[in-house]
Point group: C2
Chain length 160, copies 2
Amino acid sequence: MAIDRLDGRLIELLAEEPRIGVLEASRRLGVARGTVQARLDRLQAQGVIRGFGPDVDPAALGYPVTAFATLEIKQGQGGDVRAHLATVPEVLELHTTTGRGDMLCRLVARSNADLQRVIDRVVGFDGIVRASTAIVMENAVPLRIIPLVQQASSQTPYRP
Amino acid sequence: MAIDRLDGRLIELLAEEPRIGVLEASRRLGVARGTVQARLDRLQAQGVIRGFGPDVDPAALGYPVTAFATLEIKQGQGGDVRAHLATVPEVLELHTTTGRGDMLCRLVARSNADLQRVIDRVVGFDGIVRASTAIVMENAVPLRIIPLVQQASSQTPYRP
DNA sequence: CGGTCTGCTATGCAGTCTGCCCAGTGAACA
DNA sequence: TGTTCACTGGGCAGACTGCATAGCAGACCG
């Protein structure tokens, strides 16, 4: 669960140059190949690294508009709403939350006009009482994880 | 910008088995290796595939709590607030939005108690007028892109 | 203190893949 | 009709992977 500096550097390296191989990584990190191999296996086994899936940009696919919708759900309808939203491709992410709304979801659309269609489809379901949407104007900080990895790994020095 | 069925299948394949090579992918897709190579290059050049960065799970790093904070910003302070939030490792994502708040950010923390520390650090900045936070209870639909890829690619058949 | 474990280093080997090249083919297009 | 483009199928040298082995240093424990 705790990762050390070497793990951190390895993840940073993989994030910067994903196409890199184990051998090249070991050279950059100044450790043996087997060590990198073992660390990678461990990180994946522990679930720290879930995988290396392709990072697809919705904008490049023709969906440049992103929005967040807060949904208020009728009591006891949570499961149905979740199943409904899971069938909508434009729903990229869905969380149930505390606070004002009951659910928060991330949407994409082909245009602002198209967003209306998506929202209609999202809220066109019985269990949803109310929805409020915030359109993203600028993605000031794109989804990132490296700073957190650095923080988490800086605690534990690498002792060979 | 438009991707066809083959591109779509390739992305799906890469998402399912990221460790796959070009050669194996070409076998699965039933096309020549050079074709897969060319498609991959094109997808990356067009920015559809940004990269293959490691998918790190914050929970496995010791940050199991996720929250979304809506921030209200003092007029004209947007840039400063953005720079401030970029320095906080626990801020994984930041968007400027329309609607009720002015910014929406995704936070992680080591515990609910630790979330307080994170929020204090986030809002402990002059430009932020008010913040309202929603803690994520369940990630009903984890960040996904495949359904969108399928939708986008199903329009254009593959004509060899 | 000595035994045991774990993690790292270093090395080797066979099999496989990558990057690059080329010639040929079929379809779309001017 | 001629040109262009994408795909096919093949070949080649070099590099990498997965796997296995052996030695070494530090931590832990009775």
